[in-house]
Amino acid sequence: MSMSIKSRMIGRALLGAAMALMIGGGSAQAAESIVPPSQDWSFNGVFGTFDKASAQRGLKVYKEVCSACHSMNLMYYRNITALGYSEDQAKAFAAQYETTDGPNDDGDYFTRPALPSDRFVAPFENEKAAAASNGGKAPPDLSLMVKARMNGADYVYALLTGYKEVPPEGVTLPPGAHYNEYFPGHQIAMAPPLFEDAVEYDDGTPATVEQMAKDLVNFLAWTAEPEMEDRKGMGVKVFLFLLVFLGLAIANKKRLWAKLH
């Protein structure tokens, strides 16, 4: 989980690239957005679970690419133990970041290495700073992204892989805008964030754009609904209980009403 110098530089480069004009109101008056193709996610379905290896890789993509601009304000470093990291690993992960604390007994604010009990450190001091560095609009927080869009996971995957270098004929993009097939209105301020080998995976998985997008979605699906596995597991038990209850209720009613004439 170490951050290579190379990817740090990529992060900076992307930050610069993302300092693009937000297309004012573009998304609001957007034409009908295109339904993204549905993917076969491990978390789909009644018995769906998170692909933890993929989500761990996704955390790395978030850390080395997305986190240059996008915050993750609802997540704490301690939460990553749910992805299979040990508490020590979570501690070490947190310690890579500096967070502001205070005021101390002298009344001063100070920085210290982050702890597992800290929230993910945001790339910008506040929303205004984020907006100022990104052409007037703060990049959205990613904690709930998969829940906050229609067709959540499929949409995020389609968006990340849906950039077109050359817009279709007849479409002229304003400066700073990029053409994306799946973004409502197709004009997105975010530059294509992923490119081949943007990160170096610890497990040797080749870092293609599709692979990184998939890993990132697995990670973001977890940050959006960390309770999902508990929820679906409990649902199975509740269903079994209710089916037995229904059977008993039917038997009881039949026996009782049979006596009536």
């Binding site: 939460n79 829940k147 906050a148 929820r231 679906k232 269903f239 009782l256 009403w257």
Partner: protein, 424 residues
């Protein structure tokens, strides 16, 4: 329709209490020996299901209120804290959130039952009116509850709906400012909505109590719509109806659990997971699904609609005001249904014409719901306008006239003899 059987014999402590405060006798008379028509079908379980949903909503709501922060700075994150860090917070919140949808599903079916079998007719008019009051209170409660998570739809839904009151001339604007507690939907609004969202369920509970009290005077209507003629036509509420209700409850809980555990956000809107932002308007502001038919009626009234121009526009009524009045009118009109329906036969089982009109009315309501969720443009508007006209045409014209014209089928002699009146 109280039972004439003698009350049960109690012993010991229960007897001691009952002689001083006869709650055990009361419970026994109202919920055990209480006679109900023996031909009730499963549509009659929906009242019990609605009561259960109300109790579930109050119980989960109280626990949510212990963790929720009604402050615009804190509300969104406090809900996410419930989802992530409070033990089983996600379960309680999803039960509460989907409970609102289940409540409306159950109540809409309950209302359909009442309309189809003529449960609103003499002597149950007051019972019906109390039911309409419960529906309106539920709508107010659900609307304010949806504002509390302070997502984008919370803020903008609240803005659109509270702005409706500005349609009233002169008093409109001051009313809106008064509702908001300021000049926009903001912290003061969120605070009062939380206070009222906590209060109204208990008001609903009180009206439900009156609703049930009014029910226990004439007793339940039934699929034949004729009064029970004696003990041979009824069974005791407990254990016979409770046994049937148990089946209803099990099926209801299976559907409810399906939503809570496998599709908790299916009926919600993804935009409500974006924190409220007064500077960014969502592309389509849509209310919760259970408001969509009424929302469609509201939006049908646009200045260039022929109906509006011919009947309303020329004497100075604004399209917005007409829409607001039509929306509230569509609810209030339900309350006078007992007097709009002129037929002496209660059940549609014996009303060959009105039966189909009731089905058409349901389809019309569903169409209104469908177009209410679509952007107000193109043919959606035209469909919404015709469906709105049909809604009022059904209640104001068809219902009274069909009641006079229709020739009902012969009614059975009694519930226990379902055959057509025998020639004794």
């Amino acid at each position: 329709m109280q039972s004439n059987e003698p009350g049960p014999e109690f012993t010991g402590v229960v007897k001691w209490i009952d002689r001083r405060l006869p709650i055990f006798t009361m419970m026994s008379k109202e919920y055990q020996q209480f006679p109900v028509p023996r031909n009730l079908n499963y549509f009659w379980s929906f009242g019990a299901l609605a009561s259960i949903t109300l109790i579930v909503m109050i119980a989960t709501g109280i626990f949510l209120a212990m963790q929720y922060q009604p402050n615009t700075e804190l509300a969104f994150n406090s809900v996410e804290r419930i989802m992530r860090d409070v033990n089983y917070g996600w379960l309680i919140r999803y039960i509460h959130m989907n409970g609102a949808s289940m409540f409306f599903i159950v109540v809409y079916i309950h209302i359909f039952r009442g309309i189809y079998y003529g449960s609103y007719k003499e002597p149950r008019e007051l019972l019906w009116i109390l039911g309409v009051i419960i529906l309106i209170l539920m709508m107010a409660t659900a609307f304010m509850g949806y504002v509390l998570p302070w997502g984008q739809m919370s803020l903008w839904g609240a803005t659109v709906i509270t702005n409706l009151f500005s349609a009233f001339p002169i008093i409109g604007e001051p009313i809106v400012t008064w509702l908001w507690g300021g000049f926009a939907v903001d912290n003061a609004t969120l605070n009062r909505f939380f206070a009222l969202h906590y209060l109204l369920p208990f008001v609903i509970f009180a009206v439900v109590f009156l609703h049930i009290a009014a029910l226990h005077i004439p007793g339940s209507n039934n699929p034949d719509g004729i009064d029970p003629k004696g003990p041979q036509d009824t069974v005791n509420f407990h254990p016979y109806m409770t046994a049937k209700d148990m089946i209803g409850i099990a099926v209801f809980l299976l559907v409810y659990a399906g939503l809570v555990f496998y599709a908790p956000n299916f009926l919600g809107h993804p935009d409500n997971y974006i924190p409220a932002n007064p500077l960014v308007t969502p592309p389509h502001i849509v209310p919760e699904w259970y408001f969509l038919p009424f929302y469609a009626i509201l939006r049908s009234f646009v200045a260039d609609w022929w109906f509006f121009q011919v009947f309303l526009g020329w004497w100075g009524m604004t399209a917005k005001l007409a829409g607001v009045l039509a929306m509230f009118g569509s609810l209030i009109l339900l309350a006078v249904l007992p007097w709009l329906d002129t037929s002496r036969v209660r059940s549609c089982k014996y009303r060959p014409v009105y039966k189909w009109l009731v089905f058409l009315f349901v389809i019309d309501f569903a169409i209104l719901g469908y177009v209410g969720g679509k952007p107000a443009e193109g043919w959606y508007v035209v469909v919404a306008q015709w469906a709105t006209l049909y809604y009022f045409f059904h209640l104001l014209i068809l219902t009274p006239f069909v009641g006079w014209m229709e020739r009902p089928k012969p009614l059975p002699a009694s519930i226990s003899q379902p055959a057509v009146a025998p020639a004794e």
